[in-house]
Structure formats: C-alpha cells, structure tokens
C-alpha cells in the first residue's frame, strides 16, 4: 500500500486506478497462466473443502481457495480457518485419539 492509497482509504475514496489495475491484472494472469477456468477452480475448491472438512471443522463461509502468482510461478493457495478439530475417525488401532481432540477449539488457518 502506498501513502496515497492510505490517504484515499482514510477519506473513503477509491484507490488510485494503478493499484486497481495491478490487482486486476494479478488475478486475471493467475487464471491465464494456470489455464484453469473459474468453473474448474470452483469444483476443485468444493472438493478440497469436502476433504478437509472430513478431518477438521472449517468455516465454509470464510474458506477460500484461490490462485496467486508471483515471478511467473502460480500457486494454489487455500486459506481455511479451522473452527475445531474433529474426532479422528474410529479405527481399531487408535481408539484413544477420540477424547483428545474433543476439547481442542483452535481457530487457526492453514495457508
């Protein structure tokens, strides 16, 4: 953020158009470079959330899977705030794990 952006924010004005241009470009290029269309990305997001929510309880509203790009390298970034860890699925070998995770209620994000 530049000083001008900060002043604009204080005054409730729109950010400078160059800032908007840069943000829009970064987003569109992440998609261009990965050749993933938004539909596919959305499908992938749903599936990732589904898998993760099998293990931990996540905030589905806040959960965000997006493409970011830096230095021509595109990364898939998942930001999934965890409400609480779920009891591990009951298996024969680890019956003790159940009670342990019950009390935990951390809110932390993995990215």
């Amino acid at each position: 953020m530049t000083l001008r952006d900060f002043v604009n924010k204080l005054l409730g004005r729109q950010p400078a158009s160059a800032t908007t241009a840069k943000q829009r470009l970064q987003l569109v290029l992440a998609h261009d470079r990965s050749d993933l269309n938004p539909e596919l990305l959305e499908q992938m997001r749903r599936e990732i959330l589904e898998v993760v929510s099998r293990y931990v309880e996540i905030d589905l509203e806040e959960g965000d899977v997006s493409l970011e790009t830096e230095d021509r390298v595109t990364a898939l970034v998942a930001n999934l705030p965890i409400r609480r860890t779920k009891p591990l699925p009951v298996t024969d070998e680890q019956p003790a794990a159940e009670s342990k995770s019950e009390e935990a209620d951390p809110v932390w994000s993995a990215s």
Partner: protein
Amino acid sequence: MPVTTSGSRSILICSGKGGVGKTTLTANLGIALARQGVRTAVLDADFGLRNLDLLLGLENRIVYTAQEVLSGSCRLDQALVKHKQEPNLALLPAGNPRMLEWLKPEDMQTIVGMLRESFDVVLIDCPAGIEDGFKNAAGAAEEAIVITTPEVSAVRDADRVIGLLNTRGIKPIQLVLNRVRPKMMANQEMLAVDDVTDILALPLLGLVLEDEQVIVSTNRGEPLTLNGSSSPAAQAYNNIARRVCGEDVPLIDPAKVRRGLRAKIGRLMHTKIF
C-alpha cells in the same frame, strides 16, 4: 549480450497486442544499431499487415519480397532494400498476404538463416496475435524483445506471449515499456514501471516515454534515430540499441523526468508505507 563476430543474432520483436509499438521499435532499433556500425537486417514477418517498409520510408523501393526469395525467383540480395542514409541497415519486405496459406515455420527459419550469414543482427518484426504468424516468426528467433505499454490489456497479452516464448526456450527475453507517461505514473493513474516488471518478471531493456515526435517521424518515414533527434523517444531507442550491444546504460527514472514541488509531492505519495 555483445555482438560477437562468430555468431549473428536473431531477435524477435513481439507484443501479443497490436498497436503497442513493435514496428516503431523495430525501425528505430534497426537504424540505431546500424548507426553503431552493426550490420542489421530488419525482417517484416507481418505478411498480413505489413508496415515496416512505411516506417523506414522504403515503401517505394521494394522490388522483390521474402516470397520471391523463398520460391527461388530472386536472390536474397536482390530482395533486400538497403537504406540509403544508413547502408548498414537492410529491409527484407514481407511477401504477399496470400503467402500465409502455405508459409511454414521452416520457411521463416530458412530466410532468417540466410540473413544471418551476412548480418550481425536480424530483427524480426512479429505480427500481433499468437496464431500462425507469431509461431512462424518465433520459430526463427533465438532471442526476444517483448514490448508493452502500461495498460492492462497490453500487459496481459504480453504475459501470454512470454509464456509461449518460454515454452520455446527462447532467451534472453527482455522487456521494453513503451508510451510511459511520467505525470500519470506519478499520480498513480498508470501502472508503475515496477508493477509491470514485477508482473511480467522480465528484465527491463528500455523505457520509452510517450512522445509526439514518434508520430511526426512515422509521417515522414524517417525513424527518430536516423537524424540524431534528441527527443525523449529517440534517446530511449538509442539507449536500447546500446544495451542490445552489451553496453551498460542506466535506465531513466520517469519520476525524475518531472521536476518541481508537485512532482516531489507525487513521489512522496508513491512511497510504499506497508
């Protein structure tokens, strides 16, 4: 990279988007290199919409084109149009648009290969787009200069082209940022130079300021670098030519082009605070 006697260089000048200054750069860089004593050939690879001859003022002197060279109906030196004022520069004109129906990447490689035998540098003026015309031209180049303007559409298209050049193993790929308006940049109403280089992740070969003299020079068919013009764009093109030859010429800082208190405040407002 210095021009060595052992190897001649083939440099593609491309942008993806049309109208950002490929042909103007090719013409001015060609003349500037020639004036430095580099034997330079400029090849118009835009067979559909050729214009390099016009910008160089050579449109009335074309007899044969790349088409006749390829079909064997003339020799290369018969098709080459030598610039009268700058004999180190020669143009190989684009052929008929109908050539596009049968032209293959190998044909372009043949032409460029022939040119490299008698020139130090071959500049290939690439057509806009990323279709066959681009592929033909890119197939004949070892290095590339990508030119763009600080606008979202031009930067996006440049990014596509850079991706394709990377896949082809073309390197180095360097960037020329054209039509820079220092005042708009200072007001943050135009993408900053760093923004563009960060996004495209290419080394900057040159910055060309927006300059009305470019239009005047194209009207006349006399590239700015031909007559020692001191206009900002002419200086930029000359500096690019020196950098192409391996000279270390500092880049201009658009913020320093403007002086006075307003410019100072503009620079302060541009400071990254977090």
